[in-house]
Symmetry: C2
Amino acid sequence: MTMDQLIDSLRDHPRNEAELVKLGHLARKVPTHDMAYLMKTLPTDQAAIVYRVLDKDTALAVFESLSPATQAELIAELRHGEIFEIFNELDPDDRASLFDELPAKVADRLMSGLDLEQRTMTTTVLGYPEDAIGRYMSPEVLWLHPEWTVRRAIDHVKAHIDEPETIYLLPVLDDSRILLGVTGLRRLLSSDDDMTVREIMREAESAHATDPREETARRFLGGKLLAMPIVDAEHRLLGVLTYDDAVEIINEEDAEDAARSGGAEPLEKSYLSSSIMRIVQSRVVWLVMLALSAALTVKVLDLFEDKLSTVVILALFIPLLTGTGGNTGNQAATTVTRALAVGEVRIRDLPKVIWRELRVGFVLGLILGSLAFVITGFIYGFTFGTVIGLTLLAVCVQAAVVGGMMPIIAKKVGADPAVFSNPFISTFCDATGLLIYFGIASVILGI
Amino acid sequence: MTMDQLIDSLRDHPRNEAELVKLGHLARKVPTHDMAYLMKTLPTDQAAIVYRVLDKDTALAVFESLSPATQAELIAELRHGEIFEIFNELDPDDRASLFDELPAKVADRLMSGLDLEQRTMTTTVLGYPEDAIGRYMSPEVLWLHPEWTVRRAIDHVKAHIDEPETIYLLPVLDDSRILLGVTGLRRLLSSDDDMTVREIMREAESAHATDPREETARRFLGGKLLAMPIVDAEHRLLGVLTYDDAVEIINEEDAEDAARSGGAEPLEKSYLSSSIMRIVQSRVVWLVMLALSAALTVKVLDLFEDKLSTVVILALFIPLLTGTGGNTGNQAATTVTRALAVGEVRIRDLPKVIWRELRVGFVLGLILGSLAFVITGFIYGFTFGTVIGLTLLAVCVQAAVVGGMMPIIAKKVGADPAVFSNPFISTFCDATGLLIYFGIASVILGI
């Protein structure tokens, strides 16, 4: 496999011209997506060597596919001329993301090297906060005038074809840059030459530059758009969002949700290129917080210590019961978090979700409870079987409801729904589950 | 809000012409993405009423945004003429997905109503398994001949502009349909009229129709492509994959991963439109399986019953210790599952992952263990503090390693990495954690 040969050649620390030429030949045979994987997993100094032997187009494509944090690390290994070339070639929105990750001095020097137009566009994009969609738009837009004929419009597109990020969506603007509608190259080419742009344009699905990025990107992808005009409060055109930006936003948001659902913060770089301490950092705060909340379970059990010493058998079922509660809660939380993220559930649906989870939890509890009643009953006697069966029923109901509610409540108070992650819900259900368990045991066993 | 008014009007069961016209007016004011949300959450009979009052283009756009299962339900409520109109308008790949969900009789009748060309294309797509990329391609492709001039190519595109799903990627084929390269409309329009297509075409990033869908879609989106040619084993063109198909595949795969990471199967329809029994069904198998594996913890504790009755205090820490093990395992599993899904980790990286998680788990265990040693020591004495501290250290190391390994091993044996979900890892870590706990307690406390 070429990729392995490439990795082997790198181990020999190629330095002289002949070795680098050989490396270049190998690198050209590696498909772009394997190359992107390599750049994310190799140590940065080796990544820089590979980067240098790539042809210019591949190099830029691979660079654009890296996260801004990885881009910044790679840049630290390159020479000033090489860095400037990259910086100059990037679209203004990608440049803005990288800008944030660079040391201020490097960033300023790179910015001052841009021509006025590119610098202005980059500054415009940098003016929006990181979670606003304006930060991801491309301000380089090819637009049409409503009174132009189709013929003139096509000529205009041809004359400026290399400038903008996309020519497949063409906004139509009046003299004060107000967005009137959009049309596409396909529509232009299939229309009569003498029609006006106004006659063939359609209504635009647009977003405000200050709109939240995740919601806008989901709307974009849900509508299967190729590009979307971004406007200001007066509906004046500011830029265009292209599909690759929407995909990247959703990718980042999904990575964040996935990490949080597992009780960790997302890593800024890829897993294999992050340092051990970075990974520890992404997990330790959550883990300590969860362990401290789990101290609650010690406290709860402490309350029932006398009951435990009377009926030691009660202790045997603790992990089973708390575990099942946690699992049921996780199932509900995961389903609802995902449904919220993709817009299938909204905050207004909270009562509906509670009512659904109440019924789902009840049915699940009935099934598990009956099963446990029979099995435990045969082994430990049916009085004890009743305790375990009833506890499972109650635990399933409360865990499903809590798991279903939490993400919506988080969203309502403005937090990330994924913050009420699986581990958090497990821990919560552990403590409440124990209270339910000993409550039921006290009544039935009369202890 | 117009959407609420619309929902209210639906509650009054509009039947006569005037009421439906009023409903139509309301519906036209609801943005398309809100309409899609409505169609996914309304009861099917109400969704069908709304569907009928939409104008044709919106109706088709909304229909296309529904999952095949929801589409099939909606279709059951519509009249034959309406159904046929939809079926005829869909792209062959979307038609194939819907086809699977329909009763065989309905599906056959609809297919026989198509013209020969559409029927042939749909049958071609249906020939590929559901997890192959060929199933999602559009066989309606506009292609160019390498010897044509740019002028002739542009005329050809203009003449056939309404037929294919995309005109932004134009494959170049020789006489036996072998894919030689691709070009785009942008390149065509910016090239000299007398150049040949061969001169301006570039190498194509393509996929085989039998390639796995998730991997291909990730490669597609990673490369920021607009469309990708799909070929057979002889490199003959079969169709084109467009970006919306790639987005949809990833969306489904991510939903599946999210559900499984929470220990449930993905729902076929949206959460709010799924029946209670469907939701129960998606969770109960996992839950019962997990509960049965958790029976292992009862067994383990049973082994140590005498130790538990000697030192009841040991029982108090069970949920804390098993919980922390589960959390650490989940963190590692979530990170690695995601990294595998997006291609940042591959199967070959297993030894690297184990070595990383060993160190991460050790550092996390040191931090948590020291903390627990101090706190527990002050309350329960430092001998007992040593038991808890050492157990946490050992539990963190083993949970991190197990959590990191499991998804890779799953992928290696051909299973979905997300199958070793959070609940599964929690349950596994519960049992092993207890063994570690009582092992350490026996040695240190001499019981």
